[in-house]
Structures are given as C-alpha cells and as structure tokens.
Amino acid sequence: MNDNVLISVNNVKKYYNNGKIKALDGVSADIKKGEVVVVIGPSGSGKSTFLRCLNLLEVPTDGHILFEGVDITDPKTNINLHRRKMGMVFQQFNLFPHMTILKNMTLAPMKLLKKPKEEAEAQALQLLKRVGLEDRANAYPSQLSGGQKQRIAIVRALCMNPDVMLFDEPTSALDPEMVGEVLDVMKQLADEGMTMVVVTHEMGFAKEVGSRVIFMDGGKIIEENTPEELFGNPQSERLKGFLAKVL
C-alpha cells in the first residue's frame, strides 16, 4: 500500500432496516496525507454517512476502512485509540454546555494523553489565540455566537493533535454572516498541510481549498476529480443536474 495513503476505504456499505435503506452502497476511496477532500452531493446521498464511517461513529455493514494501515473496522481494533488521531467537527458544534471553553478543550488531552493541566491549558490558549478567541477561554458555550462555537469546536479537536480532520457540514447551521469566519479557519488549517475530509454545501470552499472533490449520490461515489475538472467539466448527468441547481 502507498505510504502516502492515510485512510483507505474499501467497498464500504451501510444498510439500515435490514438492507431496505442503503445509505452507502459500496464506496471506495483513498485519502492521502495533506489532501483536502471535499464531499458534495444532494441530501440523502450518503455523504455524511460516509464521513461518519471514517471514524466509526457509524459502523459499516460491510467493507473495510484502513486508517494509518490499521483495519479499524475489525471488531478487535480499539477504535478509541485511533479516534484520538481523527478530529471531528459537527454541524451542530456539540460543545459541552456544562464546561467552560477551556475545559471543553482540555478534557480529552488531560484524560487521554495524561497531559498536565498547565500544559493542556497553555496549548488550548495558544489555539484560541490562533482563532482570535483567547478572551473567551472562561466563557460557557451558551455565551458564544454560532461562528464562535464552531471555531471553538475546530480547535477543541486540534487539541488532540490529530492526523486528519473530519468536517460534517460545519457551516450549515450558521447564520450566513458567520460562515466566512469558520471557512477562514478551515482554509488556514488546509494551508498548514492538515489532511481534511469536508462534507459541505459551500461550493466556493470546495473550488478554492479542495485538492479533490467527490460527488456522491444514492450511496455511491458518482464522480471524483480535481475541483477545476469536476466543476468545469462534469461528466455524469447527475452531477450536471446537481451543479445546475447549486451554482
């Protein structure tokens, strides 16, 4: 296997209701180090399920996923150890409302990496500074705007020093005016060489930041290509139809 491949997805299927609903119907893809893979598609196309399978929040019905060479779909694999290396950002932020921002960010490093409190807090503050929120360290999530919450959610995941970041429609729950600040942080992250898989409806982001774009529909990957090719020269009718509606 190529050393450069970080995540290898082999013919993954996810069925619900004993196979009546096929959320993923045989998906294969390789995510290479440093790549920004953007997944687009209509709702119900399986793109979120695909992303959630990557860190096993959804357990595939069939198929294998290799992360850093380890088959994480093997029931004997301790998935918790591998999830530490896969940061995830959710549409609904999912900050912990009963903890301050600082606690949100230091919980996992302290409990899992056994970092001393001072070290974890210093790292958290540094990350907060990077996204311009160092003055909110002691605030509670309910005191923040949506854009601020999502930026915190991103740096909370970064506190574990992940090898890959998974974004599940990170801007879909935001007011339009706050989308930009979150995309800026993601762009900055991409520029620094972070491997990213992003499920999004932001075609501008896909074009500008994506190194590869995957178009999904009906639980299958219909097309994947560089953003220029995929948006400029779509091959399938379904992608053409999709792009005509969203662009």
Binding site: P75, R83, R84, L95, A157
Partner: protein, 261 residues
C-alpha cells in the same frame, strides 16, 4: 413507676401558669405531657434520627442502584444493536433483562409489602432494623431513581456522546464527564422530589417496629392517651425538614444554572 404527669405538672409548673384560664392551661399541660414529661422529646429526636438515617442511606443506595440500572438500560436500548464485542453484548442482554424485571416488580408492589418481605423473610435473622429498612427503601427508591436518570440521560442530545467519542473518549468516560453531569442537572428537581417522597415514605417503617419519627409519635400518643398533639408535632417536624431541604436544593439549582449564562 414515678409520679404521673399531672402530679408532676402541678409540682413543677409556675404558679401563674396554673392560674391561666382553663382551656389555655389544658393546652399547655397537653404540650408538657406529650413533649416534656418523662423526657418524651427524646423519643421524637431519636425517631427523627432514625428517619433521617434511613432516608439518607436509602437515597444513597437508591442513587447507586439507579445509576447502574439506568446505564444498563440506556446502553442496551441505544447501543445494543451496535455492540461489536459478543461478550459485552451477551452481558448487557442479560443485565438489561434483570433490570427490567427489577423495575417491574419493585414499581408494581407496595413499599410496605416489600419492607415486610425483606424484614420478616430475607433479613429475618438480622436484628438491625435500620439496615433492613435501608435495604428495603433503597431497593424501592432505586427503581424510581433509575427511571429518573434514564429520562435525564435520554434528554441529552446524541451529539454530546458523539462529540466525546470522536475525541477518543470511551463510552464510560463520555458518560461520566459529559452525559451524566448534564443529565444530573436536568433531573435535579425530580431527584429532590424523590427525596421528599422517600423521607415521608419511611413513615411506614413502624410496621416492622423500626422506631422512626412517626412510630415515636404513635408511642407517645399511646402512653399519653393523646393523639392529636403528638401527630401535629410529628407533622411539623416532617414539614420543617422538607422545607429546609427544598430551600437547599433551590440554592444548588441556582448555582448549577449559573454556569450556563
């Protein structure tokens, strides 16, 4: 036998009290007879001590049982189908079945009956009435607390667990640091209510001769041939305890809520 209450009263009461109008004097004499004569106030105090001990430890047992049972129930209902380890799956299937039987039986039978079954049956050889009472009321309370905590856990958005797991925290760690603290805050008023119900429920402990507050009141009533005043006293003590506790929980609630804004 020492002197009777009326003899003693006439010898120790100050003169001005004896000269009060008859109704008022009788009332004061009744108070004396029910609370002071023969150190009867000690009976209430000892009874109250038993009631509080019984309630406190029963609640403790109830909360421990409740947390365990609710976690088994929630884990199985929410995640049983996804459990990948066959041993864990088998364990949870059995544990869930046991928990369901426990909830059905305990919530389906009166606590007095349970108390008597435990006291005269299972714990018949033990002389420790408070221990037997604690076990009976604890097991009873656990069933209600379990359903309370379960509703609290289910009220927390699924994204919270997912966020914890995505950071690499295990299921138990996510429960402990993320889900349960939030669930506890949500169910605090209902949990306080359970405590209030429990403290008054222990009034049936007298059925097995456990000298709780109510039992103490009835003993005094029997000895002094007066039911009305001792029972008023007992009621007042329960009321004060419950009011004090309600005030305490109110303070705690405000403190927990303060963290949210």
């Amino acid at each position: 036998m020492g002197p009777g209450p009326s003899e003693l009263w006439n010898s120790i009461a100050p003169q001005w009290m004896l000269e009060l109008p008859e109704g008022l004097h009788d009332f004061i004499y009744t108070l004396y007879k029910c609370f002071i004569y023969d150190d009867r106030y000690m009976m209430y105090i000892k009874g109250l001590g038993n009631t509080l001990t019984l309630t406190f430890f029963s609640l403790l047992v109830g909360i421990v049982l409740g947390v365990l049972v609710s976690i088994v129930r929630v884990s199985w209902d929410k995640h049983g189908q996804e459990m990948r380890n066959p041993v864990a799956r088998f364990f949870f299937r059995i544990a869930n079945a046991i928990c369901k039987i426990y909830l059905t039986v305990i919530r389906g039978t009166p606590v007095v009956v349970q108390l008597m079954i435990i006291f005269f049956g299972i714990m018949a050889t033990s002389n420790n009435k408070v221990l037997a009472g604690t076990i009976a009321f604890g097991i009873n309370s656990g069933a209600y607390v379990a359903e309370l905590i379960r509703s609290g856990i289910m009220s927390i958005d699924g994204g919270q667990m997912e966020a914890g797991r995505s950071l690499g925290l295990g299921y138990v760690q996510s429960m402990r640091y993320i889900i349960l603290p939030q669930a506890f805050k949500n169910i605090l008023p209902a949990l306080a209510n359970e405590f209030i119900v429990l403290i008054k429920e222990t009034a049936v402990a007298g059925y097995v001769g456990l000298a709780d507050l109510t039992y103490a009141g009835s003993i005094v009533a029997g000895n002094s041939y007066t039911y009305f005043v001792p029972m008023l006293g007992v009621a007042a003590i329960y009321l004060i305890i419950v009011m004090f506790f309600t005030w305490l929980v109110g303070k705690l609630e405000r403190r927990l809520r303060a963290s949210e804004r």
